[in-house]
């Protein structure tokens, strides 16, 4: 048997729960601080405006591109490479009195008429300012609804203390992932929002596996303290946690490297989320459940036997 990790005895995770809590609080405060100072680098989906991605035959000189655009009265354009030196992304804020959908075509014309050789249109996006605001609102709402639904489901399946623990962990993961995006001013677009919700799903996955074991052990081991039970459960599930995080990180790294520039934000958010989520299912979720006073009594009376336990297994 080849094993990544083998514990001879139970690892004392909860011994470090205090410093871990401080560490988490520090990260959260830090994230909130950078969010309140820098907020997020909102992508076009949320700010509105026009984005033009063009492909050049030769590596493009950004200074020349900027100069050409300034001549065509687009001096305020943000010009940067996108993916490779042949691709250039031009972004413009919404303008008063000018129809946004016209700007894209005008920028493209300006570049095609200048002396850059062949210039291909790769993508033009125009988003009206109101649409962006709505998207941001809907996105925030989606995350809150997701958290509430999960709170209800986990409460029903487990116990409210565990449910609270898992929701704390999720909020922790989302805030820290947002914090990293804010600190490094990574662009926050719709795919990142989708990734955040996927992080919610993933991190919860991890937490539930641990909680399931905690519940089982509370029922099996009559005498242990809650800390003991949590430590044992975490130890028993640790290799699974590491392996699943590992395989997920494999595919995400592959997505980050090969998936192209459009998917970078998505992959980045999930990579951060998975690191933080793995940590939080150990320290945030379990230790807050302990702090909320979880005990054996909470697990025993509710005879929520596993569904279909009295029937013959179908699998």
């Amino acid at each position: 048997m080849f094993e990544l990790f083998r514990a001879k005895q139970t690892l004392r995770f909860m011994k470090y729960s205090k410093p871990a809590s401080w560490f988490s609080i520090l990260l959260i405060v830090g994230s909130l601080a950078t969010l309140s100072i820098n907020w997020l680098n909102w992508g076009l989906d949320f700010t509105g405006g026009t984005l033009i991605e063009v492909g050049f035959e030769q590596p493009a000189n950004l200074t020349e591109v900027r100069a050409t655009l300034a001549e065509a009265d687009f001096g305020d354009a943000i010009v940067q490479h996108f993916g490779s030196s042949h691709e250039v992304m031009v972004r413009l804020a919404p303008r008063e009195g000018v129809k946004g959908e016209v700007i894209g075509t005008n920028v493209l014309n300006a570049l095609q008429q200048a002396d850059f050789g062949q210039v291909d249109m790769r993508r033009i996006e125009f988003v009206g300012p109101n649409v962006g605001d709505e998207l941001a609102e809907d996105g925030g709402l989606a995350i809150i609804i997701a958290l509430i639904c999960i709170l209800i489901y986990v409460s029903a399946r487990f116990e409210w203390r565990l449910a609270m623990g898992s929701v704390f962990a999720l909020a922790h993961d989302i805030i820290i992932t947002l914090g990293v995006f804010s600190l490094f001013q990574l662009e926050f677009d719709l795919t990142v929002l989708a990734a955040l919700l996927a992080v919610v799903g993933y991190s919860l996955n991890d937490t539930i596996v641990v909680f399931d074991r905690i519940r089982e052990n509370f029922r099996l081991l009559a005498t242990s303290t809650p800390e003991d039970i949590v430590d044992q459960s975490l130890t028993q599930t640790l290799s699974r946690t590491l392996i699943t995080s590992g395989t997920t990180i494999f595919v995400l790294v592959s997505l980050f490297i090969f998936g192209g520039a459009l998917i970078h934000g998505f992959a980045t958010a999930l990579l951060i989320g998975i690191f933080v989520g793995t940590y939080s299912s150990i320290y945030v979720a379990s230790s807050s459940a302990i702090r909320l006073g979880i005990s054996r009594d909470h697990m025993i009376p509710e005879v929520v036997e596993k569904e279909g336990a009295d029937q013959e297994a179908i699998l």
């Binding site: 989708a194 699943t244 592959s254 998936g259 192209g260």
Partner: protein
Amino acid sequence: MLNKYPMWKYVLLGFIVLISLLYAAPNLYGEDPAIQVSATRGAKVELATLDKVQSILEQAGISPKSAALENGQILVRLKTSEDQLVARENISSSLGDGFVTALNLAPSTPAWLEAIGGGPLKLGLDLRGGVHFLMEVDMDEAVVKAQEQMVQDLRSDLREEKIRFRGIRKDSSTTGVLLRFTDQDTLDKAVDFLKPRNAGFEFTDKVEKDEYVLTIAMTELKLKSIKEDALQQNLSILRNRVNELGVAEPLVQRQGIDRIVVELPGIQDTARAKEILGATATLEFHPVDSVTDVNDALAGRLPSSSVIYKERNGRPVVVKKQIILTGNHIVDAQSSADEYGRPQVNISLDSKGGSKMSRFTKNNIGKPMATLFIEYLPTGKKKANGKLEIKKREEIANVATIQAQLGRSFRITGLDNAAEAHNLALLLRAGALIAPIQIVEERTIGPSLGEQNIDNGIKAMTYGMLAVILFMFVYYRKFGVVANTALLFNIVMIIGVMSMIPGATLTLPGIAGIVLTVGMAVDANVLIFERIREELRAGKSVQKAIHEGYANAFSTIADANITTLITAIILFAVGTGPIKGFAVTLAIGIATSMFTSIFGTRAIVNAVWGGRNNIKKLSI
């Protein structure tokens, strides 16, 4: 005996494997460059058209793979994309007006697969290139127009009824109309008269200084129906125009209460698309010139007061230049059936239009009247002064005999069938656009970017999967091979299911969703295998360990996956476009991965190891 599946479970598994493979199979066949010929108003695609297309191709020296008439469209499959361009050039110039020739990629799915509903995955715009518009209907304008309409109608109604009022104006603070009277009696009379005629309005009166003010406001319900009508009207007009563009598989769909999504795959020239979508149309009612003979008119003997227009089937009609009424007086037009089930179109005019119509029809009972539809379409070319060249297209939509003196609402009968009635109502409504629309979001993806996105997605998936497969093999040995088999089959199943569901489209975030599923799908197997290892360590027998491993891991796996499914559903509900695509693949991936990694692997494990009591060690 432990760990033995009954035969029916294998049969079921085999059946599901087969179905998935079958529906995933069309994706292996690729696509043919093709040309799609469809008819616009005024023409019909017939067998004769097909013959003509074939002879055009022959003349151009192109031998197509196939050419067939299906669902009123001609689909010509070609061997190369060079052929495709030449063929389109020739067909569109030779067939002329009335036909739209569009470039298309037709899936070369074999006929037997197509017969059972098989077809390749539908790709989102970010993968195939094209343009996406989000348009917003100006609802404020729709309400203001309805208010103005009310003012006009109420004024003429009250005048007709000889109820005197001091003034009438639209109330800008609410969605209603203010009527001022000199005394309470007249106000009451007005209320008694108007109330039964105006359902959907709320009447309130108050005394202001020495005036008696009556407020007639639209109810919430009425307001909602006005907005709904404005949206529906725009929706049907856009559908019509999109068909004119000749795009293969366009999408026109409402989104929320005031938005419309238009997706045009393969279109690069967004300027032209926007012009056509924004084209204006109008209607005119003309008296038919029944004195002049049509053949004389065609021969040039046409009185200066008349003109010749053509009907949609090409039949010429001589009409007088005199305009009875223009389309902007049309408030509504609906197709329905009369008491005998015959199709008809009910038309409502505003008060001005009503009195014009009434005046004209009074002296012309028994005479025919023609409805002329005029559309201003940009040709896509520019005039010398840089302005866009606009083409005016006129066509007689209908000729009807005036049966009686007509008023504000009347109907056109004598239509051939319900479809014609529906079409006519659509045209009549198009003449009177209630609410303007504007583009609030536009995304154009070039074809090269689309292809690159597909390449990137496939590359990311392949390498990610290879890493996972390698790891699982090294770590779990034979059981790893079992998990990998399930993983590969999971991919086939996702593709099969996505190809099967009509509404599912694959987008770039959707590919990311599949890639993510690959990473997370093995989780179920990791949970099971770790559990089996634990049971073995606890000294249980091999068979018992396998059994308990699966049994104990099941509820954990179910809980973990259901919560992820919740997030996928929420994403689907709030997301748009590509994000919806992500949610769909994520949800399908969760379902299929649970099936393959629990049921699928167990079937293999049971077949290989199950029921054998001589096994001392497991390769796990």
